[in-house]
């Protein structure tokens, strides 16, 4: 594995932020995606959806400002942007499942070349596991972006021919933003749209478990 600098988690988030259309309604999942709100390009307006029943979330609450009746889907106290609204959780997921969100950004354990996503359960993990809102969101968003490291800690590809981890949803991913690349999932295969500074297509291909176009 080439010993070159990769994008940090924050840089992945910043890169993914550029994929968001102006004025779009967006849900951010656990992990790297949740950092995106802090890295929006100047002049871009995005409305954040939280599956516990908020549209128009603002920044996270500062110390002393926390209101535990106003938390996001990660249970973290947040603030409201102007023009926000509250609704019950069935309507919140009607938004995610019914194709109303313009973009959802989720974390991932594995993405297959067909755009299958595995992001809720590590095989053999202890405990009950938990699904949360990821399956509804993955099934329903108009555009689904996955943000993750390109490889596991052991260097194994997380972009694979077929997912071996328990699946979240089939053929749902549109774009993968990693610490090495931006990749679009197309009918004809995985299109390498962008490489991280200093990385070649060949190097990235070697760390990817499915062919890159």
């Amino acid at each position: 594995m080439p010993d070159k600098p990769r994008l940090s988690r924050e840089e992945i988030a910043a890169r993914a932020a550029k994929e968001l259309p102006d004025g779009s309604y967006v849900n951010l999942g656990w992990g790297i995606p949740n950092l995106i709100a802090d890295y929006l390009p100047a002049g871009l307006t995005v409305f954040f959806h939280s599956e516990n029943g908020i549209l128009g979330m603002g920044r996270r609450a500062r110390a002393g400002e926390e209101d535990y009746d106003l938390v996001d889907a990660m249970k973290v106290p947040v603030t409201l942007a102007p023009g926000a609204s509250f609704f019950h959780q069935a309507d919140a997921h009607l938004m995610s499942r019914g194709g109303h969100l313009d973009v959802a950004v989720l974390g991932g354990f594995q993405v297959s070349e067909k755009g299958d996503l595995a992001n809720w359960k590590v095989p053999g993990a202890r405990g009950s596991g938990g699904i949360g809102g990821a399956m509804d969101i993955a099934a329903g968003a108009k555009v689904l972006i996955v943000c993750m490291e390109h490889t596991t800690k052991d260097g194994a590809p997380k972009i694979v021919k077929t997912c071996t981890y328990p699946l979240t949803a089939l053929a749902c991913v549109d774009t993968i933003v990693t610490d090495l690349a931006v990749i679009d999932v197309r009918a004809e295969g995985l299109l390498l749209r962008e490489t991280a500074p200093g990385w070649t297509k060949k190097e990235i291909q070697e760390l990817t478990g499915a062919p890159l176009l």
Binding site: H88, A90, M135
Partner: protein
């Protein structure tokens, strides 16, 4: 006229029998009926089926119920890494679990509320969630049949109730509460404030009184996260 106001949380839950199926509102520390949960734990009612997004945060929310071994089956979306009492019981096989995608959990409860006997969704197709469920293709989309989730009781939390049972919720403490209120046979709400009939603008009522059967004021226990 039938009286919905109860003098105490203990009185409001006194008749809940062993084996009851109960929905518990709340998400992320907001909107949990913590005072009702404590009252239920005091009754020692056992063998409860709990329907809730998560399974407690240490001693908070449903934590106490698992700590005391009062829940035997759970239908949940995200039990949670901090639900240590649940996780211990689950590991010891003292509690069984049905994991449900969060939106489908909402939708299955709403189906029960709305007299819908089943519905088809693409959510969960190709995943563990589809196991044992009828699959079919509608409009070229693979989908699975999901069934209603009903309950004997809903324990919910609201900010304000009028004496008839019209409810409003504070901020994101709304979450599952209005859906559960509609889905259960008997809905018990703990509120911060009871106001006279007519004080809530009819356009601002979130849960209409028809869905609320017992009201109790409880400014008490609160857990944050």
């Amino acid at each position: 006229m039938r009286q919905k106001l109860f003098p105490s949380v203990d009185a409001a839950v006194a008749d809940v029998p062993d084996g009851a199926r109960i929905m518990f509102g709340g998400f992320g520390g907001a909107g949990f009926p913590n005072n009702l949960i404590h009252a239920l734990a005091r009754t020692g009612t056992r063998n409860i089926t709990a329907i809730s997004n998560n399974c407690g945060t240490r001693d908070g929310e449903l934590g106490l119920m698992f700590k005391n071994g009062l829940i035997s089956h759970v239908i949940a979306s995200f039990p949670g890494p901090h639900a240590n009492y649940f996780q211990e019981r689950f590991a010891a096989k003292e509690v069984t679990l049905e994991l449900v995608p969060q939106g489908i959990l909402c939708e299955r409860m709403r189906a029960a509320a709305a007299g819908i006997l089943g519905f088809y969704t693409t959510v969960g197709v190709g995943t563990e969630v589809a196991a044992g469920k009828e699959e079919r293709v509608i409009d070229n989309q693979h989908c699975i049949l999901e069934s209603p989730i009903r309950a004997d009781y809903a324990f919910i939390k609201a900010q304000r109730a009028d004496e008839l049972g019209n409810l409003t919720y504070r901020l994101a403490a709304r979450n599952f509460n209005p859906i559960m209120a509609m889905a259960a046979r008997t809905t018990i709400v703990e509120v911060e404030e009871i106001v006279p009939v007519g004080s809530i603008d009819p356009e601002h009522v979130v849960t209409p009184a028809i869905f609320v059967h017992r009201i109790v004021q409880a400014k008490g226990i609160r857990y944050a996260g």
